[in-house]
């Protein structure tokens, strides 16, 4: 196509996709194909669409997304490993009119930070938790996570996770759904356009709950890939995720408006 033909196509009426306004210009530091970037973008789009750019405080974890604040163009804080829900609790209680969320990996949320997770959920803190479950410790080089599947090889389960020795993969999302303090609990993914659309809807619902002062915490798990840690190509990683992660971590709502889905 000639240069002129391209110029004729780049017109507002032909625009179907653009960089989300609340993502910064900084190139993402994530591995190509990683789900973190998509999850970031969805949160920023939702905050933009809800008009909360100037009223949101995000809390980043320690993990691959420790630099989330570099990419999200809103006020942000970096937590200590696992403690994001504690920071968010205080922020929300001190600024009840603001929108507060945490963004956490599985090691952060379901291992070192289990106590903070359970208790923020149990107190029904009026915050949103976005939990990216990739079944591995991405940042530190692919060690076993609490969510690592049985038999899955990681650098600290080199012969595969032996549940008799290492325990079972933790379904923390089902666990927090049992607590009266959670209002909305859902599991989503971002591996194809359909899933991305559904995940965005779920994220929007969670933030809307908070804006509406719904009585409890909204918790969104995003089952994601870690192609580097899993040692797969991005495409293989997504296929492996569908075949292996989804059966154990089924996608869909677990609790809506305070009621468990039967």
């Amino acid at each position: 196509m000639s240069e002129i033909a391209i110029q004729n196509i780049i017109k507002p009426e032909n625009l179907v996709y653009q960089k989300s306004r609340l993502m910064t210009e900084k190139p993402l530091s994530y591995c190509p194909g990683c789900g973190h970037g998509t999850a970031h973008r969805l949160i920023m789009e939702v905050i933009d669409e809800l008009g909360k750019e100037n009223d949101t405080i995000g809390v980043a974890p320690v993990g691959c997304s420790v630099l989330a604040y570099e990419f999200m163009d809103i006020d942000m804080q970096e937590a200590a490993h696992g403690r994001a829900p504690a920071l968010a609790t205080a922020i929300k209680r001190l600024w009840p009119d603001k929108v507060v969320f945490t963004y956490q990996g599985d090691g952060d949320l379901a291992a070192i930070g289990t106590a903070e997770t359970i208790h923020a959920c149990n107190r029904g803190e009026k915050i949103v938790i976005v939990f990216v479950n990739n079944g591995i410790y991405g940042m530190t080089g692919g060690q076993m996570a609490p969510t690592t599947l049985e038999g899955m090889k990681t650098s600290t389960s080199p012969y595969g996770r032996d549940v008799a020795l290492m325990g079972n993969p933790l379904k923390i999302t089902e666990l927090v759904a049992q607590l009266p303090g959670t209002y909305y609990v859902t599991r989503q993914s971002v591996h194809n356009p359909g899933a991305v659309r559904k995940a965005k809807k779920a994220i929007k619902k969670a933030f809307q709950n908070q804006i509406d002062n719904a009585p409890g915490l909204s918790f969104i798990e995003i089952v994601s890939n870690c192609n580097s840690g899993w040692k797969m190509t991005p495409v293989d990683a997504n296929n492996w995720m569908v075949d292996n992660m989804f059966p154990y971590y089924p996608i869909g709502d677990i609790k809506v408006d305070g009621e468990l889905i039967k």
């Binding site: 750019e53 100037n54 009223d55 949101t56 405080i57 809390v59 980043a60 420790v66 630099l67 604040y69 163009d73 809103i74 006020d75 942000m76 804080q77 970096e78 937590a79 200590a80 403690r83 504690a86 920071l87 968010a88 609790t89 205080a90 922020i91 209680r93 001190l94 600024w95 603001k98 106590a115 903070e116 359970i118 208790h119």
Partner: protein, 361 residues
């Protein structure tokens, strides 16, 4: 004159937190300071001043609540005792690195480990030399009366915000538990959200309309930038060291010997001083009020003035004595007397130590 009350040190501290205009207290019960959170929950300050009081699931959570709350520009505080303060060290390091104003109270008990619940001063190293990882400093205030448990709270908040630095009030089980008359200061109103936003443009409480986002972090993966940040912190600590040393002295003008003691040990040493003076021995007492920054220069002045020896009296196995020795730098004798395990020394023991360790031989 302010309102007079007979109170426990821990209660005076809690009342002072409300009166100082604190926005939030986040804590976890531990003896000998559980009265702080008990007093605060009973006082229901959310109904009077709007202050948030929350019992956290652990000290790890409470310090991280301070990290989050303090970063938004609100006045936040916690209290605990030794084992709980140990759990907070990672958080304190983050808070110091990210330069967040918070106030933490340690009502010290006997250690190590679970130790006991009796008063001690064995957390001096932890609070003044680091405790957590990395090159950072806490400003440490040491009250020696119930009155000071109250008075030091607004001072601690002022210092925390002046320098954007964590401040520790380091008390002990005796001062926390004992009852004394206290004159309460007039309540300081809490700042409004607008005042917080105007006063602290660094705080992360929602990106200003048309402005830049704020980030609160202790992370910088670029070593050159992190080195610059460390230099900035060190310059700040230097300024604090130059300007914020506080101490009290008794009878030092003509003293041949000086006892150095803080907190409860200073109270005991005051009595010892009277007993020694009655015997005709010219003794003075230097009471550091800030444990960091330390009154090093004052000690050096006393050496110049002709003091022949110093006795550091502590409820520890000898921690602060190292700072006395650093200040004296070998010029005159420095001795130590202490009791450990939660035992408070008697004035007579201090008299004996001064006579035999410092003057004798």
């Amino acid at each position: 004159m302010g309102e007079l009350r007979l109170m426990k040190g821990n209660e005076a501290l809690a009342e002072a937190m409300i009166r100082a205009g604190a926005d939030g207290y986040f804590g976890y019960p531990i003896t000998p300071q559980s009265e702080v959170i008990e007093y605060l929950t009973a006082a229901k300050p959310h109904e009077s001043t709007g202050m948030v009081v929350l019992q956290a699931e652990s000290e790890v959570a409470s310090i991280n609540m301070l990290y989050g709350g303090g970063a938004t520009g609100k006045k936040v505080c916690t209290s605990s005792s030794s084992p709980g303060i140990s759990l907070m060290q990672e958080g304190l390091s983050y808070i110091a690195g990210a330069e967040i104003p918070v106030v933490v109270v340690n009502v010290v008990r006997g250690g190590p480990g679970l130790g006991d619940i009796q008063p001690s001063q064995s957390d001096y190293f932890q609070s003044t030399k680091g405790g957590g990882h990395g090159d950072y400093r806490l400003i440490v205030l040491a009250p020696s009366s119930v009155q000071e448990m109250s008075d030091f709270v607004p001072i601690a908040f002022d210092l925390a915000f002046k320098y954007r630095n964590p401040v520790m009030i380091q008390s002990d089980g005796a001062i926390g538990q004992m009852m004394e008359k206290v004159e309460l200061f007039e309540p300081i109103p809490r700042l409004t959200d607008k005042q917080v936003k105007d006063l602290y443009p660094w705080a992360t409480n929602g990106k200003p309309k048309g402005g830049q986002r704020r980030i609160m972090t202790s992370l910088d993966l670029d070593p050159a930038r992190l080195e610059r940040h460390n230099h900035h912190l060190q310059e700040k600590y230097h300024t604090i060291d130059e300007n914020e040393v506080r101490f009290e002295e008794f009878n030092c003008e003509d003293a041949d010997y000086v006892i150095v003691a803080y907190g409860s040990s200073a109270r005991i040493s005051q009595k010892a001083l009277q007993l020694l003076r009655a015997k005709g021995i010219k003794v003075g007492l230097l009471r550091p009020i800030t444990l960091w920054p330390y009154p090093t220069k004052k000690i050096q002045e006393l050496v110049k003035q002709g003091v022949k020896g110093f006795l550091s009296v502590e409820m520890s196995a000898g921690q602060m004595v190292e700072d006395v020795k650093l200040a004296v730098n070998g010029k005159v004798k420095v001795e130590f007397f202490g009791r450990v395990g939660g035992i408070i020394p008697s004035p007579e023991e201090v008299v004996d130590a001064l006579e035999h360790k410092l003057i004798g031989e």
